[in-house]
């Protein structure tokens, strides 16, 4: 065996000082806010975590697809269809656990449709994703009937002892199951991508499919599997919406989260942990929005003007943030090299 020299690591693996300082300041602000008004701070932070759940799951879905070289603009539609089907499973079976499984399976199935279109039928990947999005609005609109009865929704599970820690406890350890699962999946996907053979193969296919092929990796098999896995994650995000967050289905209830997730993925440079940071940012923007009515009466006098901002302007905050994030980070982040390309064996 030759001595294997480690390949020079890029500068990114050094400690990111600006980020650490930023995080430290943020943490300090949170502690100050908590001391001033513990109830509101906890509510906002809790809302941040929960609002970030569908976005991080969507971003993980995007990562799984794009790391293998397939653009997935259809996450929005996958989420919406899975949310709808998960809701229907809940109506039919009355079992929330089965309903979540159903939503995930539905997501994987729609992922397979995306793979079929973009890999086998060689449709442009962005158009294929758009087809899924339009199908999702059409099908859910047609098959949705008002007044279906549901069997409740997933409720928070309090983890004893850990939930008693101030700030962290109620924010991280008193959540419904899919929120926990999302946090675990961030770590799981990170390990899958960067520590396993599967992950290495995935990334090889996404960077240089021809080279991957010559060393015996089945390119299209890897693409199919990862796109379906991505679909399953998007399905879980959909399941979160109907089975955990709202408890019922509403038309177009994804509200652009699938696209926000893609921006978050780019912000996180196609890494699960980086994307989680991005998702938290959006979760905070959304959380603040949902808590703003609650906040209005407790605002200190110098912040009273915040209450006068028309709700539409607060409502568009996440979308403006997405644009800013995209404009600011796309140029600097390098996507997988083979992204968007079809692969044909020579």
């Amino acid at each position: 065996m030759q001595a294997t020299r480690p390949i020079a690591r890029p500068a990114a693996s050094r400690l990111p000082w600006p980020l650490i300082i930023f995080g430290g300041v943020l943490l300090l602000l949170i502690v100050i806010a908590y001391v001033r008004d513990s109830q509101v701070t906890t509510a906002v932070l809790n809302s941040t975590i929960r609002q970030s759940t569908p976005i991080i799951l969507g971003a993980l879905a995007g990562i799984m697809c794009e790391r293998v070289g397939v653009v997935n603009i259809g996450i929005e539609g996958m989420m919406l269809l899975a949310a709808f089907l998960g809701f229907l499973f809940n109506v039919w079976t009355g079992n929330l656990f089965l309903a979540v499984i159903g939503a995930v399976a539905a997501g994987a199935l729609i992922g397979a449709v995306h793979a079929l279109m973009s890999i086998t039928l060689k449709v442009d990947q962005i158009i294929s994703g758009t087809v899924i999005n339009i199908m999702a609005t059409g099908f859910t609109g047609y098959f949705y009937q008002q007044g279906l009865v549901t069997q409740g929704k997933l409720t928070p599970i309090r983890i004893p002892l850990l939930a008693d820690i101030p700030i962290i406890g109620p924010v991280f350890f008193d959540n419904p199951p899919i929120t926990y699962l999302a946090l675990l999946l961030v770590i799981a996907i990170h390990i899958l991508l960067f520590k396993t053979r599967w992950g290495l193969r995935t990334r090889a296919v996404g960077e240089h499919p021809a080279a991957a092929d010559t060393v015996g990796i089945r390119v299209n098999y890897m693409r199919y599997m990862n796109v379906m896995l991505g679909g399953a994650l998007a399905g879980l995000a959909g399941g979160f919406l109907t089975l955990e967050a709202v408890g019922s289905f509403e038309r177009n209830m994804t509200n652009g989260r699938g696209f926000v997730a893609l921006a978050v993925m780019i912000f996180g440079k196609w890494t699960p942990i980086g994307s989680w940071a991005g998702a938290l940012l959006f979760g905070f923007a959304n959380g603040l929005q949902t808590q703003i009515q609650f906040l209005q009466n407790r605002m200190p006098s110098w912040l009273a003007w915040v209450g006068d901002i028309p709700h539409q302007f607060i409502g568009m905050l996440p979308y403006v943030l997405t644009i800013v994030v995209l404009a600011g980070f796309v140029g600097r982040a390098r996507p997988p090299a083979a992204l968007g390309s079809r692969y044909e064996k020579e």
Binding site: I73, D124, T322, A327
Partner: protein
Amino acid sequence: MELAEKQPPNRASASARIVPLLRAVIVPVMAVVVALLIGAVIIAISGANPIKAYTSLVSGGLGNAKAIERTFEKATPLIFGGLAVALAFRAGLFNIGAQGQLLFGALMAGYAGFAIEGLPMVIHLPLALLFGAVTGALWAAIAGVLRAYTGAHEVITTIMLNFVAINITDYLSNGPWKASGVVARTPKILETAEMGKIGNVPLGLVLALVVALVVWWLIDRTTIGFELRTVGHNPNASQYAGISVRRMTILAMVLSGLLAGLGGAVETLGVVGRFQPGFNAGLGFTAITIALLARNHPLGVIPAALLIGVMQAGSSRMQLDSGVASDIIEVVQALILFFVAADVLIRTLLRMRDTGDNITLSSGWGQS
């Protein structure tokens, strides 16, 4: 070179021109047929009679003069939207934001229609149209500039701008520009800004047809059109040949937004008479279906938009007559889009060869 120019233009025989046209048309037509068949199966599964449903759909869209007028009204913004998406496609851009650009166009045309007083019609109406078109263009320009200078992909930025546009137009028509009364809408436009009809044909449709011709001429017969198409085919080669990809990207988005904004303006000035938030939701996506069904040909957009227009105009009649929810037309549209996009399926069915003119957009998220 000069010799070549002096030669008379090559007049192809009639049959030689018709055959390629047939070949180009057959895939979209088959896509529509297959989509309608699958739609029929879905209707049958949900317990209704598909033949009855489709009959009332067609009679609701074409049955009498009133129905045809409704179809024309529905098809008009669809033509503009389809042209907007098709033009951007030809330049290699995917404008999913026709919705937002149309909203702004509709709002600003409505504003010009009620707020500017004392002008004769010959000035007021064009001015209101211009207001709508320019606002649409400016709104789309944001996405164009972001794409050209930061590489932010227009697919995401235009969708996000849609949501922003919904919020801003909602705020303006529900706040500063709200008409008196409970309903959130702007005041009625003045008579001098109203777009009338010639017989049963709305003036807006006439404008749409003229604009389609202009867009076709622009794309196929001018230098700008050539540069746009070249950038769409191969941005790297265009840069090499001295075409500014940035300038073309912004120009394509501006023109695309201009068309969508004009569509919104026509809707306000010719059909609704004022701006109401939430109208024409989903047009942006329908426009994509139309553009792809037309294979991004500006003149093909017209029949494609009329087809969807018939479905939209007839859908409420269908719901009334046969009890099939009008949302089925969205399912059929999605299926049409699927079969147009995955035209391999149709071509295999017809045993046709690959024409090799597939659209390629996925160049990743980075700067192209």
